[in-house]
Symmetry: none
Subunit: 215 residues, 4 copies
DNA sequence: AATGAATGAGTCTTCATTCAT
DNA sequence: AATGAATGAAGACTCATTCAT
């Protein structure tokens, strides 16, 4: 993988510094707008060094997006630790997702650049990583369904539906609505959860309405 | 507005040809990657002509995004004509949205480029246009709520929630899931609708599950 | 000559308007910087019309410099009318020269552009015109010499010396010294005249100094 | 100053080569007409290198004019070394000035371009340099006046008068007269000196004329 | 005769990448 | 291993000139 250099003589601190400034710079200027010289300067290393650690601008960008995904994943899974129940887990994950991008807007821009510049051309390693990530969520959903907490939705599709909502929310939803990402995310996740929950009686109003219908 | 030139001596056909090739080229290469010369060549006009009709690359891009939004809007509103009920309208809109981008993938890329390159810096004219668009949907939601069809959700936020889902679905959801945009969209819109509907008994499975609980 | 179009159907007023705006524009932007479109717009005619009256940008520039020289000449010779004596005539000419450029700074810039862009490549017609101009001054000098008013200097060289002083004064002298062209010109012309006059006793101070030496 | 780069890693030889070709190219084609690619090619370096040493075309031009002024100054002051007397010094300076431009016609064109393209907008550093140059001459004049060699002229104005004559002579005078710059300069400087000298008896002819008058 | 839309050659400038030190 | 000087391909934009109307 381009993001892992087998060479024995690399300084992880230097690598991290470059990556950090790459995130910052790609976020600020976009992939095409970012200048390798600027990244090198900001990281306090020579331009040649950047090329030693990351073979090309494109490779550096992939390493950058990978770094962002890894950080995001850590945050999201950390938020799910100790949380019981599929809905609660999903909610926690959604909130963490929004929280992460709200406090790391540069990571969001890297995400956007990734999609804009390279559509679906990410390295296979990234795609594999993604698949594993989504599989974990699929498992959560599946368990929720088996436990009767969730309707028997198509877990595979629904995971990507959840991803769509989160992505759309942080990328454009909160901007268009001029609302904080967190607030938009809570709103949207709640709608999503209500949409897949088997038990909706917890919602007082809806319950009341349904009771009325029964009468 | 950059997209509307008052000069009487412009050839609308030529303008349209340039715009068409601009969509194609921006979609293929991105804003930064697109070459004005290539757009001119593809449109069969001189480079100077492109600059006559659109003052700069940026202006041409704005005209392009505006064109895409207008086309999208037409398609979506056409799909809602004659449809009764808030849910049905929203569903029709969502399906049309996905359908539009599925059959016009270049328009989708323009959308993505817009967000990637210019975050929230669209010309005020565009922003105003957006506001009006969303207001129409807000009205649909509001009427659905008043009619008792929808739960009393916050119409403003929910409209942007809907937009988030649709955007996320066509931009990444269907790609990540390797599923057609239409299928993903139907799935996601249904979850969204269930999430805001007051009456959920129409869903056979859920009804059954709930009935079981009541017993 | 490029500046005189034999075609029977030309509107002198339109020609003059174009010329006027050409002076203004070449003065402001320089030969290379001036835009034929701007000249046309300022003159209130179509660009094609400019090309009808003046075959090319270069031709228009030559017509412009010619116009400036003609105006300058008129002013200078008008100032010499009725003035008696070579020194007085020369002085009047010098003052008028500076006055002209001080009140027509655009004409000065055209002069400078002429030299900068085309060195000595002016059309033969211009050069002939110049020669005649200088010949008139040579005659004045010659007469002054014959009348004993001036030292028997080389009239030919001295005429060009006078031209050098005036040109240098208005083009850089007054700017470098941050003084009005008129004031600089008076100063310089006086030194020049003293330099060529046979009778210097009119200068009180010098006379006194000389008297002292004699004692 | 644009002409002095503090960076330690510049090759003075390369810098000089670029500057040399810049003088040549600006002289031949003018500021606007000169092509950075041509300058790079002539200097035998890549275009990027030209931009490394001189940030922009304008900066390169300023460095060029500065170089010319420095060379001119060296030549002029060298010519004045060991020369006694204000008149003799001024004469030596004037001759050297003309000689310099006669043997370096490209430097003259750079001078002309400077005035044509940038009127009085030279960087402050250049202007300061100019001021010091002229101050030195002012001192020479002042000393000549105090020594009784020169009439009590306004030294400030007269310095700029001298500059005007020299500039006018080399820029247009010698061209119009079709005479070598040196010859024109000698002629003009002599007239100028006679114009400011207190003692004019050294001039045989004038002395004779004056003697005749006295009788 | 007058117009101005169309053209495309021409130019400055940037920046990813290389490689000698 | 680290550096950053050097390179030159690439691209946005301008403007003199033409020519159909």
């Amino acid at each position: 993988m381009a993001t892992q250099n087998g060479s024995c003589s690399e300084d992880p601190g230097k690598r991290q510094a470059i990556l950090e400034q790459a995130i910052r710079t790609f976020a600020e200027l976009g992939f095409r707008g970012a200048d390798m010289q600027m990244i090198a300067d900001r990281a306090g290393v020579g331009k040649g060094t950047v090329y030693r650690y990351f073979h090309s601008k494109e490779d550096l960008f992939w390493a950058t997006t990978f770094e962002v995904v890894v950080r995001l994943e850590k945050r999201v899974f950390k938020a799910m630790v100790g949380v019981e129940g599929a809905c609660a887990k999903i909610r926690a994950a959604g909130i963490a997702y929004a929280e992460f991008f709200e406090s790391n807007p540069q990571c969001l821009e890297v995400f956007v650049q990734d999609r804009a510049e390279f559509r679906g051309t990410a390295p296979e390693s990234h795609r594999e990583y993604h698949r594993q990530l989504f599989q974990k969520f699929e498992t959560v959903l599946q368990q929720g369904i088996e436990a009767g907490e969730l309707r028997p939705v198509d877990a595979y599709q629904t995971v990507y539906g959840f991803a769509s909502i989160l992505y759309g929310t942080v990328v454009i939803g909160c901007h268009l609505a001029s609302l904080p990402a967190m607030r938009m995310a809570e709103h949207n996740v709640d709608i999503f959860l209500r949409g897949i929950r088997s038990d909706v009686s917890l919602d007082a109003e809806t319950s009341r309405l349904m009771e009325n219908r029964k009468q």
